[in-house]
């Protein structure tokens, strides 16, 4: 189910503007990797290049390679749609589809991809995904209610259930807790720890405690100034980054001296 991700010499551009410069990073399967760094340092941008979501913005393009188990996402003729079916994503703000019920939301990925699925298989998939997202017990009695009727934390877990229902190999999370209250955050963090058993998880976070709590390895990004590209400063075991970083700027950042 789970795959490795290898980024090689990646530059990300918005039009002519170089947003992220020369990033190489190897992410192991079945691990949680956190991207941390100050605002605008390109960590979200980099995350989105891992399933080609950045291409939604006109003019965005990359140079370099992203290999998922050795397959280049940016190889000639690769369809971004195919990529995204294998690499799921959870966003900063919970975004369940407003026109769909909870159940339909979980099944959205399958249904919208025009896969035929029997009623019993659909029910099984809904239960399995919601169980995996720690949401089943809270919503099992109101699966037909609109997804937007849930609380923020529940909505975010619904979005996670929706993402894992299509059985991706890698799960990207773009600040998944930044719009949530502390209790919901805790629930999502617990969930991430469980997801690690079956997925490769990459999470962008502003919250350093969160990175320390949930991740196995951490990558620190920084930016030299406004208008300059973001760069990968240091990538190591989370404990190393937080206790014994190699770089001065990493230490300054994790100890709260800037950013």
């Amino acid at each position: 189910m789970s795959k490795s991700v290898n980024v090689k010499d990646l530059d990300v551009y918005y039009g002519d503007f170089l947003a992220v410069h020369d990033v190489s990073i190897d992410i192991a399967p079945k691990s949680v990797t956190a991207f941390i760094g100050p605002s605008g340092c390109g960590k979200s941008t980099l995350l989105r290049t891992l399933n080609r979501m950045h291409e939604v913005i006109p003019g965005a393009h990359v140079k370099g390679q992203v290999l998922v188990d050795g397959d280049d996402l940016y190889g000639a003729g690769v369809d971004p749609v195919t990529v995204r079916r294998q690499i799921g994503m959870v966003f900063q703000r919970p975004n369940p589809f407003p026109t769909m019920s909870i159940k339909e939301n979980v099944l959205a990925g399958v249904r919208l991809n025009n896969k035929r699925i029997s009623r019993s298989a659909a029910d099984d998939l809904v239960e399995k995904s919601l169980l995996a997202a720690n949401l089943w017990n809270e919503v099992k009695d109101r699966l037909e209610k609109p997804g937007q009727g849930l609380s923020g934390g529940q909505q975010q877990r619904l979005c996670i259930a929706r993402a894992i229902a299509v059985e991706p190999q890698v799960l990207l999370m773009d600040e998944p807790c930044s719009a949530l209250d502390p209790i919901s955050t805790l629930a999502v963090e617990d969930l991430i720890n469980e997801l690690k058993d079956s997925f490769t998880v990459v999470i962008v976070t502003h919250n350093m405690q969160q990175a320390a709590r949930v991740s196995d390895k951490t990558a620190f990004f920084n930016i030299a100034g406004t208008g300059k590209p973001g760069k990968l400063i240091e990538y190591a075991e989370t404990t190393t980054i937080f206790n014994n970083p190699m770089q001065k700027s990493t230490e300054d950042y994790v100890s709260g001296r800037f950013g």
Partner: protein, 408 residues
């Protein structure tokens, strides 16, 4: 899950090619359809211009004094196309300007009343009432003008002629039926009123709350606050609203055709019998059924002139509207991160957004919002969030009923 296996079992180089084989015809067909719809807009517009020109050219080029068709009937007595269309164009502009002179102050008053004077809960309802004024078909206004406005304004016109007849505008032999250009202009004013009102209202509602509060905090009265904060912010928007109103007045046919008893003359007199300049649209409507051969083509030629005039007015209006958002964009770009400030910004737009769901007249404003959103994507900010700001924040705020609570 089949495809997944395809990719995973292959080597690094090959799978890319194999994936391409899965073309997505539905996607391409849909993109092709929507692109061709967009192209069809160009075709339609080109068609409009082309067919009018094809029909009009023979009449424009003909010799009006010798041509058997043109020297009699509705086009008789004119030396050529331009001497025919000249007075008509004058009448069109003159009637529209008169209407605007009457409608503009009232429309701005109403817009201010709705945006800054009426209780906030009433604002939507009052806006709806004004929109209803726009929804009444022009032919109904025509009938109303004949039945109600003509007799209603007749005494006023007689009075004006008797006592103020020394002013050139009110001179001449006074109308006996009330079918003067003044009556027509009043009805036209009623018809353009809602357009100017609803656009101005949208613009007044967009005034940054901070500016207003700053003015109030200085001890301004409400009127001074409006002069200090609302008018400077909305000036260009109001100007373009007036021009869009002018565009509507220029093309308005029925009310004028039914009310004014016209002559093809150039005259500034307002309340005469038989000296009321005719407008292009009304002239076509009245004479088209009885015109023959080249006469019809001549009328189509005048229609072409009307098209050009109203096009010019509309273009100027759009230019003014579109020149404005630059200021707003600078403000947005100043936000270091797109997503959060969008909320604050969205508050003032929240009400307007709700209205827009219902008001087709606000179309131009949405375009400004939309363009901003896209410009943001090109901005040097580079952060992903900036690109989504305008669009998503607008939606969030538009739906967020709490935003209403933020209004004073």
């Amino acid at each position: 899950m089949k495809r997944k296996r395809d990719v995973s079992t292959s080597s690094a180089v090959v799978p890319a090619r194999r994936v391409t084989a899965r073309a997505r015809p539905a996607d391409r067909v849909f993109k092709f359809l929507s692109t061709s719809a967009a192209v069809s807009i160009m075709v339609i517009l080109a068609g409009v211009a082309l067919f009018l020109i094809i029909r009009a050219l023979p009449a424009i080029g003909a010799n009006w004094t010798t041509n058997p068709d043109l020297k009699t009937g509705v086009t008789g007595g004119f030396s050529g196309f331009w001497s025919y269309v000249g007075p008509l164009a004058f009448g069109t502009v003159w009637a529209s300007v008169l209407a605007l002179l009457m409608a503009t102050p009232v429309a701005i008053g109403i817009a201010l009343f709705i945006s800054h004077y009426s209780p906030r809960k009433m604002a939507n309802f009052l806006g709806y009432i004004i929109d209803l004024l726009a929804a009444v078909p022009s032919v109904v206004y025509g009938l109303w003008g004949i039945m109600v406005m003509r007799p209603f304004l007749l005494p006023l016109q007689e009075w004006l002629n008797a006592y103020l007849g020394w002013i050139p505008f009110f001179s001449g032999s006074v109308t006996s039926t009330g079918s003067s250009i003044l009556t027509g202009a009043v009805v036209l004013a009623v018809m353009v009123l809602p357009i100017i009102t609803s656009i101005s209202r949208e613009i007044f509602l967009q005034t940054p709350k901070l500016h207003e509060e700053a003015a109030l905090a200085l001890g301004s009265t409400r009127w001074e606050m409006i002069r200090l904060a609302v008018f400077p912010y909305g000036r260009s928007g109001v100007v373009s609203a007036i021009l869009l109103g002018l565009g509507r007045a220029l093309g308005e046919t029925m009310a004028v055709a039914m009310i004014i008893s016209p002559a093809i003359v150039v005259s500034f007199r307002l309340i005469t019998e038989g000296e009321n300049p005719q407008t292009i649209a009304s002239n076509i409507a009245l004479n088209f059924p009885i015109a023959t051969g080249l006469q019809r083509d001549a009328l189509i030629g005048t229609g072409l002139v009307l098209f050009v005039i109203s096009l010019a007015v509309n273009m100027v209006a759009r230019l003014i509207v579109n020149a404005k958002p630059r200021r707003k964009k600078v403000r947005d770009a100043g936000n270091p991160r797109g997503s959060d400030p969008g909320r604050g910004d969205g508050v003032s737009a929240a009400d307007a957004e709700d209205d827009e769901m219902l008001s087709p007249l606000a179309a131009h404003r949405q375009e400004r919002l939309g363009d901003d959103g896209y410009d943001g994507a090109d901005g040097a900010d580079g952060d992903v969030a900036a690109a989504r700001t305008a669009v998503s924040a607008g939606f969030g705020a538009g739906l967020d009923k709490r935003a209403e609570g933020d209004q004073p």
